[in-house]
Symmetry: C2
Subunit: 424 residues, 2 copies
């Protein structure tokens, strides 16, 4: 779908895209054909995983060449995936201006705007007037996504922004400081990346200036940066729902196997929890084997019901639309939805079961178990993510494993438990 | 997370956000407090679901007022969720310019750029020169996300775009047509929305002009439009993975129950398929009840393995990084990853099982079954989405249901089948 529609030069993103679609060996071959100046932007545009893999194939001399020809913001992305020792060695080899920028960026952690700051911005000194700026712009290009000019003092303190529109409508002798707005449209360098992306998106601007604690202008955050943050966020979410890290298509087998083993191990605990419940009721299962045949239905319908509520709840928590005030309303609604669907599918399953096994008690038991498990699932689908969120664990990461455990355990327990009371 | 960080006036997106977090009754009360001019932008910013719900509460007179004060592009979003008859009635009540725009938009289907076109753009006639334009801009504001001026003829045919930068660097007497580029940076009105979003994103521009088949400029597609398209796309994907439509947090219970019933019904078919397989082997299960206790483990570990591969494959297909050329390489890698994890977890499960049931044959059977099911799962995790994609079904929608069916059926079949051969 993402095949570039418009004929044009390859951007670093295009190259990153091409690399990520290639198996490991071909990546290295293609890499060697690239000119030096293209390399670091391409690396920065890659997924962490692919970048790490490619860098691991380079000699330390080659790495130094890449680092030296790299801009500070690209270099931070490269350093992020290198072992600490190598990263420190690389910083030492930079010229002082670049290493200053890089070290400033590394003061912020990898969820903060300050770390991945965009230094490609247009500033003007406070003493300039509109005419000076217009004169300067005759020879200089504004970088992409520039819809305002940032005004600073000698120490690079941020003083305000002048909308491009204002350059057309104001007299040349007017001082820029006079028409600049020190608006609330700024981002603090320690702001969370996702919040910064939301702020740019809702500002209606193509960029927002990023300011350090001491008032210095450290860079800008553009709407293109916002897109990248959103895409990374959503891709990670989709990956976690599929029980996989946000990994490279052609990650090394061992890396990939190791990471996925973690998810599989967690799932095994869930599966054994279900097995233990079945084991408690092994006598009734041995006597009425139809229970073994039907029990996956109860667990699985509960699992889907819970997953539906969980998905909505996680989205509501992530966007902030779900809060204490409307949690109860959502709970009522979700349990009611589960109740209606419980009645419907319990009826369907009971009818099919009665034709299959001709045992009215069994049909009744599976129907009631289905309804109960689906109600519990809807409740758990809200309670689990809300609790996880409260104790600071990302519900998107852990929510559905815990939910499956609950719906399996409750499903098997209610179904086999009531069978052991009523059938033997 | 998305709570606006920066103090500012509420945008239509903010209002939409607030509405979507409110239960139904409160939505209507809040709605009545809004001034008329705010209403249609807020409606357009809402999810389809929430918009439909709110509109269903309005009287037809109120609806007409909203439509009349609405811009064409907002109105299209409103008409999209109204019953056909009401929509047609509304169009008739518009003035001719607006209804012309709306009817043009409705010529495109709801996956095409032409339908949701942004008419808020700055054009200039081909006869103008740089000085004329600069004069005009003294009194007129460029709309947000404008980094180029679009040049058209009398019939509104697109002739090229002039970069804002060019206004500063060129002499006033220069004709705009002379400096305009009729670049390849344009979007065709029948282009798919997602492709258009990708095109804007990779263009490095804040906007691209949208051109009809006959060469007329019909509007523009901004980078903010691209963000909206991406977010909708990813939210839908996350929802489908959670087996739910992209629904409103407070959708009416009946609507919600009906939609989710579809997913539950499909899941029931899967669950019954698994039950049938178990039913085939009911004799061995009755004799060795440990099989009933352990069988969910085989199915579930296969399910997770398959889901991991499926998630990567779907992403690869969606981005276009996965194609015929590298499918085989991915297949080899994924099967190898599954093999390593199969060996690991088979060993773990076999050891636990031998302590639990003290039956070496049973331990051997579950170990081998686990490995086999995980290998099949990895293979199916690639084959299923690729085949679905080939026959034009969205793998994100149907992939994981089919996959679960495969891993359940194969898991139960291999485990119980080999047990019936070896244990009795």
């Amino acid at each position: 779908m993402a095949v570039p529609i418009i004929a044009r030069d390859f951007t670093p993103e295009d190259w990153a895209f091409i690399f990520e679609g290639l198996p490991k060996v071909l990546r290295f071959e293609l890499w060697q054909t690239l000119s030096e100046d293209k390399k670091s932007p391409i690396l920065a545009a890659m997924r962490d995983d692919s970048r790490e893999q490619l860098l691991s194939m380079l000699s330390s001399e080659h790495l130094e060449d890449v680092a030296r020809s790299s801009s500070a913001e690209h270099l931070v992305e490269i350093l992020d995936v290198l072992p600490n020792k190598i990263a420190k060695g690389l910083i030492k080899k930079l010229n002082s201006e670049e290493s200053g920028l890089v070290e400033e960026a590394l003061n912020y952690d990898d969820s903060q705007v300050g770390r991945y700051i965009n230094h490609d911005l247009y500033t003007v000194h406070k003493s300039a007037n509109v005419g000076d700026l217009l004169e300067e712009l005759k020879d200089e290009l504004l970088p992409p996504y520039t819809d305002s000019i940032l005004v600073v003092d000698e120490a690079n303190h941020y003083l305000g922004q002048v909308d491009i529109n204002a350059l057309f409508s104001n007299k040349p002798e007017l001082s820029l400081v006079q028409i600049a707005e020190f608006s609330d449209r700024v981002i603090s360098a320690d702001l969370d990346l996702y919040d910064a992306a939301e702020a740019v998106k809702s500002s209606g601007r193509s960029m927002l200036p990023v300011i350090a604690k001491d008032g210095r202008l450290v860079g800008r955050f553009t709407i293109k940066d916002a897109i990248d943050v959103f895409q990374e966020y959503y891709e990670a979410q989709v990956s976690h729902m599929g029980r996989v890290s946000d990994e490279d298509l052609f990650a090394p087998v061992i890396t990939s196997a190791r990471r996925r083993a973690v998810w599989l191990g967690i799932n095994l605990i869930t599966a054994f929890a279900a097995s233990i419940v079945i084991g408690v009721f092994d006598e009734v299962v041995a006597q009425v084997v139809a229970l073994a045949v039907l029990m996956p239905i109860v667990a699985s319908m509960g699992g889907i019901t819970g997953s539906q509520t969980l998905t909505l709840t996680i989205r509501g928590l992530a966007t902030g639309q779900l809060a204490k005030s409307n949690l109860r309303a959502l709970g009522n609604k979700e349990v009611l939805v589960a109740f209606f669907n419980g009645i419907l599918w319990a009826a369907v399953v009971s009818v099919i079961t009665s034709f299959w096994f001709d045992n009215p008690w069994l049909s009744a038991i599976i129907g009631v178990s289905l309804i109960l498990n689906m109600l519990v699932a809807a409740f758990a689908g809200i309670a689990i993510p809300v609790l996880l969120d409260k104790i600071g664990i990302d519900p998107a990461l852990a929510g559905s494993v815990i939910l499956t455990t609950v719906t399996d355990v409750v499903g098997f327990f209610v179904f086999l438990g009531s069978a052991s009371l009523l059938l033997i």
